[in-house]
Amino acid sequence: MVYTRKNQRDLTGAERRKFVAAVLELKRTGAYDRFVRTHIDHYSADGEGRLRVAHMTPSFLPWHRRFLLEFETELRRVDPTVSVPYWDWTRDNSPASSIWGEDFMGGNGRRADFQVMTGPFAHSSGRWTITQSMTDGRFLTRDFGRPHDPIALPTQAQLDEVMRERVYDAAPWNSTSASGFRNRLEGWAPGRGNERFRVHNRVHRWVGGLMLGGGSVNDPVFWLHHSFVDLVWSRWQQRNPGAAYLPAEPPPLGDAQYRKVVARHQSMAPWGVTPASMFDHSRIYRYA
């Protein structure tokens, strides 16, 4: 049966509690940290000569769609009434937004060491110790808006600009693609200062702390962020029904992206599913 992903701002108190409880249960069993590790192990940058499945690559969107589905499936084994809510950061764009409440994601990190001190994912709660990370820190960290060099969350106008793209992706199929929906949404851009952080990337930068690195999944807001990124993709698909995943075929020998990107019918590690198979989610979940 098709289930619904809701805007986190519309969740009832009970729904917030159930989501948090299911996430904490996956943390307790060790399942959560395996998701953290999967994300870490699949990050490769686009100047390194290796195949990229998750970032700086056309399969950024289907890879994360599948990643969320895997996580959501685990959550729903714990509590079948739970789904991954989405965080519309164009609306809830302040540290005072309810998403950061003590009964939900908890608040900002403190100044001295970025440690999150409130909510269920604060280390002091005893239920959220970081084990898979780029540092030896054991607590969740955040640094909202990077006060020493301030940056704001993406705006609706910036998202509208992304939605005006008409093609899924474009050569050279990486972080330097000048057009195409995927790179515009992923958010790589030339320029200086904060201009370089767009849309999806900018949200990781705004939250800061662990959300900025390979261990970003350690912050449970990762899922709410990517649920919204997936919603944006879903709406774009509805508006552009003829715009299929690109590239359709693997770049040929001699192309700079030969064996570095996943074509429409090639499989994505670690699940062995194709981007084409991730294109239609309408029989699994919908967005409210």
Partner: protein, 140 residues
């Protein structure tokens, strides 16, 4: 960039030797990461060498075995990931492509807070069989 005086002198000397002998290009560093020399086995300056205190951390850069830039933060390896735009990201800061290895290392230090790098920060994204995996259907 702050370079210790003895390193700077040695570099100057190496430059002079290189110019004199017309030494061949080479990419193998003369010393392991624990060394201090920015000079390659050929006598050329290591283009990726830096050594400074930044944000209370000692950061060092040098060429790895295949000539790739490598960095240490307080002696712990930090993976410098090359981007298509010519810059570098690190496992600590994935979303800012910095123009040089030094800039990327500094950007990582800016985000470390009070923590030290873990082993994952040096050997990250090591997945080598990217299109393989156990096929499973969408189960939901």
């Amino acid at each position: 960039m702050i370079v210790p005086r003895r390193v700077a002198l040695r570099s100057l000397f190496a430059l002079a030797v290189t110019a004199f002998t017309g030494g061949a290009l080479g990419r193998i560093a003369t010393r392991p990461p624990s060394g201090e020399s920015p000079v390659l086995s050929t006598g050329r300056l290591d283009p990726h060498a830096f050594d400074e205190m930044y944000g209370g951390r000692r950061i060092r850069g040098f060429s790895g075995p295949e000539g790739e830039p490598t960095a240490l933060v307080d002696g712990r390896p930090l993976h410098l990931m090359r981007c298509a735009d010519g810059g570098y990201v690190t496992p600590v800061d994935h979303y800012e492509s910095c123009p040089t290895p030094l800039a990327a290392t500094r950007a990582a230090v800016d985000e470390l807070g009070t923590a030290s790098l873990s082993p994952l920060a040096g050997a990250h994204g090591g997945h080598t069989a990217p299109t393989e995996g156990s096929p499973r259907g969408v189960h939901a």
